[in-house]
Symmetry: C2
Subunit: 474 residues, 2 copies
Amino acid sequence: MARFTLGRVVAGAAAVAVAAAVVGVAAGATTSHDDNTGDARRAIVGGRARHVIMFLGDGMGDSEITIARNYAVGAAGRLTMDKLPLTGEYTTYAVQQSNPSLPEYVPDSAATGTAWSTGQKTYNNAISVTPGDVDLPTILEKAKAAGFATGDITTAELTDATPAVLASHVNLRGCQGPADMATCPDDKKSAGGPGSIAEQMVDHDVDVLMGGGKARFDQVSDGGPAAGTSVTAQAAARGYDVVTDAAGMQAAQPGTKVLGLFSSGNMPTEWTGPAATPYTTDTAPNTVPVRCTESNPDRPATNPHLSDMTARAIDLLEAQERHGSGKGAKGRKGFFLQVEGASIDKQDHAANPCAQIGETVEFDKAIGVAVEWARSHPDTLIVVTADHGHTSQIISPPQVAAHHTPGGFQTLLTKDGAPMVVNYATVSPVPAASQDHTGTEVRIAAQGPQAANVLGITDQTELFHTMSRALGLE
Amino acid sequence: MARFTLGRVVAGAAAVAVAAAVVGVAAGATTSHDDNTGDARRAIVGGRARHVIMFLGDGMGDSEITIARNYAVGAAGRLTMDKLPLTGEYTTYAVQQSNPSLPEYVPDSAATGTAWSTGQKTYNNAISVTPGDVDLPTILEKAKAAGFATGDITTAELTDATPAVLASHVNLRGCQGPADMATCPDDKKSAGGPGSIAEQMVDHDVDVLMGGGKARFDQVSDGGPAAGTSVTAQAAARGYDVVTDAAGMQAAQPGTKVLGLFSSGNMPTEWTGPAATPYTTDTAPNTVPVRCTESNPDRPATNPHLSDMTARAIDLLEAQERHGSGKGAKGRKGFFLQVEGASIDKQDHAANPCAQIGETVEFDKAIGVAVEWARSHPDTLIVVTADHGHTSQIISPPQVAAHHTPGGFQTLLTKDGAPMVVNYATVSPVPAASQDHTGTEVRIAAQGPQAANVLGITDQTELFHTMSRALGLE
């Protein structure tokens, strides 16, 4: 069996061969001893895309991917993201705010988000501004200006760094809502600034915004024409259909802008399980392999899953592409959509392997939705990557008391029926302290027009150019 | 500037375009905003290779590569290995000896070596035998039988797992010399077995064997026709030129088999520097950025470097290819060469970032030798990969005493002039206890015929098939 399941060849001015990976989580081995040279050659497609769908697994380094694969489909199984045909690794370093000629080897999601969304390196905490705090045009802004519909969805607060970098500019990522502006006084609307991240995102008229963070949007603007009203109310006044649950999301009118705020803060995780803990004895609970709980009592049943949000975002953007929105609307040239699996990172920080894996599995399911859609839309560039590496490592069982693991760990029973020990040890104590990002290069995988530009070792900033070229923006 | 510096197109029955990466360590950024689609397409070459040169960075996960890059050429710089055009990641898990249907998620170099050299998964410690201890034919054995010259070189003992898997079969990797057979009594020559790893390697008549481990070869066989003589003496009797230093290596007669034993045990590291230590205070020595010492007082000046060994091995194998060896010799069909950078792993075990980086840099220099040679030999498949991931991570400076790193770390001053903190925390205490391998997928990069088969997510066993196909062995 060929490793890449290739879709039909689309005839046309440029014959376009699209590698359409099989959707869903595959069970069992998919390895092949066949020569994939021809498939690889056919997967390389130049030219333009009408659609760019970018998947950002926050903190999803190669170690995090392997952990999720081993647990969910077994070591010889393949996730959907594993089936994208063209792959590379990219560097993720930030630069120092005080001296931007020097790298900061361990980046955050703000600096890395600025890198992929604007093509420019900046310092940790910066949201699409230069080290000198000059606004940088983003891929979403450029796509919108060129006539594309735009979408930006996440499992975090919508005002969190990754979604924020596409549609706001502020020098500190913490300035999320109008009441969070103590550290960004010049940006306040009352000071004549562009306002908080929430205010800016709504003012950007992004067609589809979905995630958590309702509490940020419910804060009240302190200046500008809408002073005294909440950002949520402002969104409604601008024509947004503001929805707060899965039913509302499904009921939203195609052709209307949609603001989905499904949770007060970050959306609750899909799965739960024990956090990593330090070594105590060879028979302690963290040495006994456990299965994760594939649900979360704190997650309301009305919360949509990221895969549902992705499917609905594609529907809504496709409607915008066909018909535009509002009176006398024209169709759009296509769309740009960013989908973030945010809590892979957040649960790596929390040293919770089950919650981390559950988020990775749901993120992978969301990728499957886009890959399936792209089967009938071969003019689509799909990119799957991470912003930075993280803590978790697969280690051997720490059976010898004198030489145990120095951080914390938890043993899981995988799909294979074998024990897998996941170690967290960048910050002490585990799990009380938040674990740290790492500076490793991370995977980038792609299919569709321009996808070959992810091959080899690239820098995160090049992704901005790859996506821009695909949309004909440069 | 195109990311891949492509060599000339070779006209012929099949036009062959070879991506010849620039040799040597590049300074400064090599990123590009150009569309590399055409270069990528030209880098995909099917068909056969006359030469396969495989580089195995032991324990060289993506984190280890990033650490070496940041230190040696800067975050925006590129190592030679970074310039190979076709890239993927592969899975490295072993299987459990007691139940081979279950994976062992953290593998060793023996199981992983068996995987890439034979195409079969086995248990940790096994040298090219099945979980049932049946010998598995190796890529080197098959290449030799098909008329190719063969080489196997390392910075470790030649009897260490990675070089061993190509030319010996034994159920425990510790059975390195005739005096090390207590755990492998049935394999002893006196028991009618094939003997230790050292004995088997010489009996295999591999054309070029170079590395450390002279003490193993100086042990005396206990049975067989050569009972009572050392393996070194047996090699000489079989026609090997046995050399023990760089001068001897250079003086070896082309057309003669060469056994280079440059060190009693593992070859000493290229660089030295402080090992990682636990957090004590925010001003402790491990928090102060240091440069590595790019030399080692314990390394004899007569020791060849891995890049010199690689250049000489290629010379000698090319001579074998042209003329063969011995009376009435015929030329060979080409050659297979394995080059191991062994002490990347060994210094990761030792939590010594400088020594680890120095080994990675020298390994990269060796890759440069092959890439340069391949410019004029486009019928060459070059593969660069690792056998498994390892411990080291790039983390933020652990400045807050209450939330310090739980393992050990050392801060280095990189080529960029910026501090990089390298963390070791899979096993405690650091650095006294040996750090642990990890189970992460690792990078595989390639150029030349069949190189496109490394794209995507593959398994380590597929590399055996890729190399076999390149040599026309399957």
